[in-house]
């Protein structure tokens, strides 16, 4: 699913990632760890197609519409409600039975009662749950998650744990984290980046 050879990225003079070799098969779970500034987010953005490599080769064998991406930022509009945000993405991703799928995700992540509230009124944890709903909405083949447990409370983290266990094996997962213990049992491949 993902193959990288001597992959690297520079922003101007600054080299933020270098020498990455990867072979992640379909259905694999890659856990990326490393200190702040080690290039975890850059690697995930490269794999998601949001950045272009400046060194080496990268092949990601998945169509753009079959990729789910969770970033540091929630990638949702603050002035729209949860329902309006997910409906917009559902339309753009041509999600079949959109309303049912949105309803199911909002129920699962405990946001159904707050579905008509603007995201601006959400707590950080609720926003992160909504971001997870957005990333999972179109049932992606490849799920790229950048520190997904950030801001989640114990209940949210448990829900995410369950979701990841359900997806592992069926879907390809690429997860960066500062807390590898949470996801390590699912990992089929580990990558530790140096600062």
């Amino acid at each position: 699913m993902i193959r990288a050879r001597e992959l690297g990225k520079r922003y101007g003079e600054k080299r933020v990632l270098w020498g990455i070799d990867l072979d992640l098969p379909r259905g694999g779970v890659l856990v990326v760890t490393g200190p702040n500034g080690s290039g975890k987010t850059t690697l995930l953005r490269l794999c998601a197609g949001l950045a272009v490599p400046t060194e080496g080769e990268l092949e990601v064998a998945v169509d753009r519409g079959r990729l789910g991406f969770l970033a540091h930022e929630p990638l949702v509009y603050r002035e729209l409600t949860a329902l309006e945000n997910l409906d917009l993405y559902g339309r753009l991703y041509r999600v079949p039975e959109r309303r049912e799928r949105i309803g199911m995700l909002l129920e699962r992540f405990g946001l159904w009662d707050a579905r008509h509230e603007r995201v601006a009124a959400y707590s950080r944890g609720m926003t992160q749950r909504l971001a997870l709903c957005r990333a999972l909405l179109h049932e992606p083949e490849l799920l790229v998650l950048d520190e997904p447990f950030t801001a989640l409370d114990a209940e949210g983290a448990t829900l995410l744990d369950a979701q990841l266990r359900e997806l592992a094996g069926e879907r390809t997962l690429l997860v960066s984290t500062h807390d590898p213990a949470r996801i390590d049992p699912l990992a089929t491949l580990r990558l530790e980046l140096a600062a």
Partner: protein
């Protein structure tokens, strides 16, 4: 193609809804253009010709549009929503078309108020001027939205947008002023239409390259 227009519709509707909720672009544009007319009214010496006032109308339109364009991608920038839009499987140019249409709606809304106010302060506005404004709006929004998207990716976005947009808007000002002041404005209106066609096509075809990091 139906899917493309559905994407444009969904994205443009989202922009209108955001403005309806936040109300941070349209009122600012309206206040700006009205304030500009007041300043021009007192800045122009009494007895100045209508020609000078016609030129000022176009200055006001371009800078009011610039204000709106500066706000156009703020919702996408705030939560990096642009990344999510870029990852969607639709044709990326739909993002540009939708944003240009929403900006055009805001600009047209402002002008519905601004043009009669201009007529009250300075002189009457003919059909050629209105036609020129309509065609100019299309060009302004097409080019401005494209440049706005480019600037969004930059750290110096507040500087970059006017620096890139204003030179590109010079032909629009030439066409608009020409259409407003000559007896046979067809040539200038045609010039604006050609500008719109060329630049809208270029922006539509190259938007994909603007959004790659």
């Amino acid at each position: 193609m139906n899917g493309y227009f559905a994407d444009v519709g969904a994205l443009a509707r989202k922009d209108l809804l955001l403005e309806l909720r936040a109300r941070d672009t349209l009122p600012a544009m309206l206040l700006f253009v009205l304030a500009t007319f007041v300043v021009f009214h007192f800045a122009l010496p009494s007895g100045s010709s209508d020609l000078a006032a016609s030129g000022l109308l176009w200055v006001a339109i371009v800078f009011t549009a610039l204000l709106g364009l500066g706000r156009a991608f703020v919702p996408e920038r705030e939560q990096r929503v642009f990344d999510a839009l870029v990852l969607a499987p639709n044709d990326r140019s739909a993002i540009w078309v939708a944003k240009a249409l929403a900006t055009l709606a805001f600009l047209a809304g402002v002008e519905v108020v601004a043009l009669p106010v201009f007529a009250a302060f300075f002189h009457g506005i003919g059909a050629a001027t209105v036609g020129g404004v309509v065609l100019a709006d299309v060009g302004i929004c097409a080019v401005g939205t494209f440049v706005g998207a480019m600037a969004t990716a930059s750290r110096a976005r507040e500087l970059l947008l006017p620096l890139l947009f204003l030179p590109l808007a010079i032909p629009i000002v030439i066409g608009g002023v020409g259409a407003s002041i000559v007896d046979s404005p067809g040539r200038y209106l045609g010039f604006l239409a050609v500008y719109d066609l060329i630049f809208a096509t270029l922006c539509w075809a190259s938007f994909d390259y603007v959004v790659a990091e």
